[in-house]
């Protein structure tokens, strides 16, 4: 059953076409990742689905409700964890959840029980009565996750849920997200530009670049699309034609003294390849990652975009403004 259906969703900010016609169907219970560099349109897309941003054109249905015609029902059926922290730091953890419970119309008789349940799920029961300004970054994130799921939404949107957390906390946060997704089979739609994490977490991935979805598949299929493993061999005079004629080799790329062979099941065929090459200096076998998929599709490295922020200034400025306080 499709829980989210998007048809030609578009958003233009002045002259900037942030989202240029996205079509997407997401099934109930899926963990779906929207991947792309900063400024690709991820946050804008999520904003439109949460009815925070009004689409310029196109439409979207979430849990049976149209995002333009029935925003209140859509809001009732989605939970959101924003990229930047939005906890009320003058309130305690429990009070933050109580405020949210009232705002989402959770009946008085269920309120405290649901709150206790969520606090337990994110291991914050013991700190629940401390002001959230005393929480660590990881704890704040967890409380926000609990808040996003408190009213039992059909879809939970997570915008860069692990941005700004240290690697250890990031790994733990993903554990919580997985745990929460399993509870009540909540559909999770997340954005991230940590490719490795997306690969591990998501059932399906949409790669988004300059406002368009350029690939949509499971992480496994996407990586298979690259034609297998990558074997990098450093050797002065490799017999390129001989190697390329092997049935399991799909491509060869030469980078200086190194050749990069794309091939299926490298561990089975490595010996045969090496027997063809004299004077091997070094060998490296690498499983391709989603980042390789991104490079193949766009010719750019996803993290390169972080450094020079090509084209992504709308989101970037918004982010600086929020950080710089």
């Amino acid at each position: 059953m499709a829980i989210i259906e998007i048809r030609s969703l578009t958003k233009t900010f002045g002259k900037i076409r942030a989202v240029r016609g996205i079509d997407l169907t997401i099934e109930k219970g899926e963990i779906f990742g929207l991947l792309g560099p900063n400024g690709a349109g991820k946050t804008t897309t999520i904003g439109m689905l949460c009815t925070i941003i009004r689409p310029t054109s196109g439409n979207g249905i979430i849990a049976g409700f149209d995002i333009a015609k029935h925003p209140t029902q859509v809001r009732q059926n989605v939970g959101i964890v924003f990229q930047d922290p939005t906890l009320d730091t003058i309130l305690t953890g429990r009070e933050n959840l109580q405020l949210h419970a009232r705002l989402y119309g959770i009946p008085a008789r269920d309120r405290s029980r649901w709150i206790e349940e969520m606090l337990e799920l994110v291991d914050l029961t013991e700190r629940a009565d401390d002001l959230t300004k005393t929480y660590s970054g990881g704890m704040r994130r967890r409380l926000e996750l609990a808040r996003g799921l408190l009213h039992r939404p059909a879809v939970l949107f997570l915008d860069e849920p692990t941005l700004g957390l240290d690697p250890q906390t990031r790994a733990r946060t993903w554990e919580y997200i997985r745990k929460m997704a399993q509870k009540e089979r909540t559909t999770v739609v997340l954005t991230t530009h940590y490719m490795e994490e997306a690969q591990l977490m998501c059932d399906r991935i949409g790669i988004i670049d300059t406002g368009r979805i350029i690939a949509l598949d499971t992480p496994g299929n996407m990586i298979d699309m690259l034609g297998g493993d990558i074997v990098a061999i450093n050797s002065p005079s490799p017999p390129l034609n001989k190697i390329l004629s092997l049935p399991y080799v799909s491509a060869i790329k030469t980078v200086g003294d190194t050749i990069e062979i794309t091939m299926k099941s490298a561990h089975l065929h490595l010996a045969e390849i090496l027997s063809l090459i004299d004077n091997v200096v070094s060998v490296e076998i690498r499983k391709p990652t989603l980042n390789d998929v991104f490079i193949k599709l766009t010719g750019r490295d996803i993290r390169q975009e972080d450094a020079d922020n090509g084209g992504g200034w709308v989101e970037t400025i918004a982010r600086y403004r929020q950080r710089g306080k």
């Binding site: 233009t12 439409n59 029902q73 309130l91």
Partner: protein, 273 residues
Amino acid sequence: MAGAGLKPSPGIDSGENEGMNSHNVQRELLGISAVWWREFKVFWREKSRIISSVVQPLMWLFLFGSGIGASLSVGSVNYRDYIYPGILTMSVIFGSVFFGLYIIWDRKLDVLKAVLVAPVTRISIFFGKVLGGCTDVLLQVAILFAFSFLFPSINPWGIPLAFLLLLVTSIALVSLGLALGSLLESLEGFQVISAFLIFPLFFLSGALFPIDEKLPSWLGGLVKINPLSYTVDGVRGALLGINTHPIYIDLGIITLFAAVMLILGSILFSRMK
């Protein structure tokens, strides 16, 4: 409603285009009470703010009022007692407008963001804020009323009417503060509003001096167009029996002022980015 969203930054829809049925009304009321509850929690937590907000007017009354009162009385009333209604109004002016302006800070810290995506209309969130602000301010007023026995000229039976006048004034001024807070992007505007709006509203309300024919005409004219002059007049009438206008006129004018501010505030708050 495929909106012509040509705004440079993401606006937030309030989602009001559904028919109001009893379920929706109930949901909105719960939303209003949620925001109200939050404001009250925050207020109660910051005890130091409550204390300073009560101590300041008491200093005006006892340090300023007693000092001037030593050599001055207005009619048969001691100056210190005479300004008591004015100082009550002053507490309401400062408390209410600053409460409203505080949303600039909330927005900076993204505290409002999570509230604004809830399935509750912007208008309800606005009304919750107004109620929260009025509650804070009127609690301060109630504490000041508790000191009224120290002012021999004050008629305690006038307190309920004075309270009503101050409540309506507080609704007007919290709305005004929220309206300005919705427009301002940064806290720099805060000083400007303080200097060019709040202090003139206070000085021109007749809080500290009687409004009679002795005033220079330019000053008298400015006082007359200040809606808060009618609060001071009404409260002074209720507590001291000294008023220029009938109290129902005072109440009528500030109610009108409050209605205009509520409408203005809810429009600006709904449009806030």
